[in-house]
């Protein structure tokens, strides 16, 4: 079966989600991956959106973090202060998903400004939203992001949310108990955190992708694990579930 790099990325991201996970889901790629997991191998996964919807099972992907469908299909919907206090800070989330404009090899993320002067940025981005506390309160962080040398940089312009810090040791020195970024899924490969150095290393390469492509699209000196496997291509169940989800979504949003 043919599939696009985005489909491969979504499927690979979805596979990492376990049936008993409680996921704090962001809009876009994380939302697609989480719902795909729910519609395939992880039917009992709990999806939480920061708008307050807990255990939601949307039939189509939301355009915003607070689409009505999220509430209509949730186990319960709580106020936003409660969401951030009892559910996120309370340590009840096993996996948080994040994306960014820029990330570095330690999984530090920037969604705040482009340019190194915060007060006079080249580009003012939307900002961190929930990211600073998602990054430290969730059991672990999965990052899903299209790979490019522009986004995967040696030094991010602003530390919107903490990964493993500037040296890989900052979580420990700050007393942060959670694991932090453990997995990065891109349209080219899967990276996991090296337990020794805390930097992302490539552990699985998507079918048809070369090491050179990965190197070219990474702004830092990317390392490959000793054992790199090939990511299994999306199977028919995965692809058809994803495409049906995307079709339902397109139809629903076009109808408005």
């Amino acid at each position: 079966m043919n599939y696009t790099p985005t489909e491969m990325m979504t499927v690979a991201a979805a596979r990492a989600i376990r049936n008993d996970d409680v996921c704090f889901v962001g809009i876009g790629m994380p939302s697609a991956a989480c719902n795909l997991a729910r519609l395939t191998h992880a039917p009992d996964v709990t999806l939480i959106y920061e708008s307050g919807t807990i255990g939601t099972k949307p039939d189509v992907l939301p355009l915003s973090i607070g689409d009505g469908e999220l509430c209509d299909t949730a186990v319960t919907t709580v106020a936003v202060p409660e969401m951030f206090r009892y559910w996120l800070q309370g340590g009840r989330i096993s996996v948080g998903f994040l994306g960014a404009a820029q990330l570095d090899k330690y999984g530090n993320l920037n969604t705040t400004v482009v340019g190194d002067d915060y007060d006079n940025p080249k580009v003012r981005l939307p900002g961190g939203g929930g990211a600073p506390e998602i990054a430290t309160s969730c059991g672990e962080i999965f990052i899903v992001m299209k790979q490019s040398a522009r986004g995967f940089v040696d030094n991010i312009d602003f530390m919107t949310s903490l990964g493993h810090g500037k040296t890989g040791t900052e979580r420990e020195s700050l007393g942060v108990k959670t694991k932090g970024p453990s997995r990065l899924t891109t349209d080219l490969c899967i990276m996991e955190t090296d337990p020794a150095t805390r930097e992302f290393i490539v552990t699985s390469i998507h079918p048809g992708v070369t090491r050179e492509q990965i190197i070219e699209n990474t702004g830092w000196a990317i390392r490959f694990a000793d054992q790199v496997v090939e990511t299994p291509a999306p199977n028919e169940t995965e692809l058809s579930a994803l495409r049906a989800l995307n079709e339902r979504t397109a139809r629903a949003h076009a109808g408005q």
Binding site: S51, I65, C71, V80, G127, G175
Partner: protein, 285 residues
């Protein structure tokens, strides 16, 4: 009962130049009609507070009403940037815009602390985060029992908060349901609160005892504005107009197209226009 007034009166009597104003709504129930009335009444030097400033703040900023914005995520959800916000912040058009930037957790806690009458919020946050270095309103305290370093931000206490809700009863109590965001906190944290509602019903006898209800004595003005959240949505009344959110991006991308749109759709209109805007986007079920 002078609680029930026109939208024009509600804004005229409660929103003043230089005020700290929160028009809250977390995707759901965003008070667009009230925001447009603030624009029509040409308020100036406002400090706007909101976790997720979206198109209505883009519009207020682009129309020159805003001096400063306190926020945690300023974008067009699922679409991209707020063009007018960026133009103001990056290029000072129509004039300079100050910002104070927080995380969602900080803002949510700060509203909670404001509703709770506290001077500050205390939470576990901003660990290793860059905002703590650029925002002097992010400080740290020690837990007096464990010594753990906890973040603190000033509570949010707006001069006026404005929300949109599903309904009021004849007494002026207000019901919000579905994604309730930080609206209850915004109202209780504010000196004055204005609510626009989809409809006014006789009573809330059929409402769940623990539903989010704001008693009339917590409010200054209640105004019936059907469709008043468009292009946001009101659960039980109409759905989110996702197409409009997408259409806003090209409108807002140029100063001229923005101004023309504002002239036609805000300055030359009144709150009654909102009912038509939602006439063709009925609620599910």
């Amino acid at each position: 009962m002078t609680l029930f007034v026109s939208l024009k009166e509600a804004i005229a009597e409660n929103v003043f130049d230089g005020d700290v104003v929160a028009l809250e709504g977390f995707t759901h129930l965003i008070p667009y009609a009230a925001g447009h009335e603030i624009i029509r009444q040409q308020r100036k030097d406002l400090t706007l507070v909101r976790m997720t400033p979206d198109l209505i703040y883009d519009q207020l900023i682009g129309m020159g009403c805003v001096k400063k914005m306190i926020f945690s995520w300023g974008g067009n959800p699922g679409v991209g940037s707020l063009r007018r916000f960026r133009d103001a912040y990056e290029k000072s058009w129509p004039h300079k815009l100050e910002i104070e930037e927080h995380s969602h957790a900080a803002m949510a806690n700060a509203y909670e602390a404001g509703a709770a009458g506290l001077p500050c919020a205390v939470f576990r946050g901003y660990l290793g985060a860059g905002l703590a270095e650029v925002n002097p309103n992010i400080r740290f305290i020690e837990c007096p029992f464990t010594g753990e370093r906890l973040a603190s931000v000033p509570s949010i206490r707006p001069d006026v908060s404005v929300i949109h809700a599903q309904k009021a009863n004849r007494n002026g109590d207000v019901l919000i349901e579905g994604i309730v965001g930080v609206q209850k906190e915004a109202v209780l944290a504010a000196k004055r609160a204005i609510v626009t509602v989809e409809e006014i019903v006789d009573n809330f006898d059929d409402v769940h005892p623990n539903a989010c209800v704001l008693p009339n004595w917590t409010l200054k003005a209640v105004v019936k504005v059907p469709g008043g959240a468009h292009p946001s949505y009101a659960k039980g009344y109409y759905e989110r107009d996702n197409a409009f959110y997408k259409a806003w991006d090209p409108i807002a991308s140029e100063r001229e197209t923005f101004q023309a749109w504002m002239q036609d759709n805000v300055l030359n209109q009144g709150p009654e226009a909102f009912a038509e805007r939602v006439a063709f986007t009925p609620a599910k079920q």
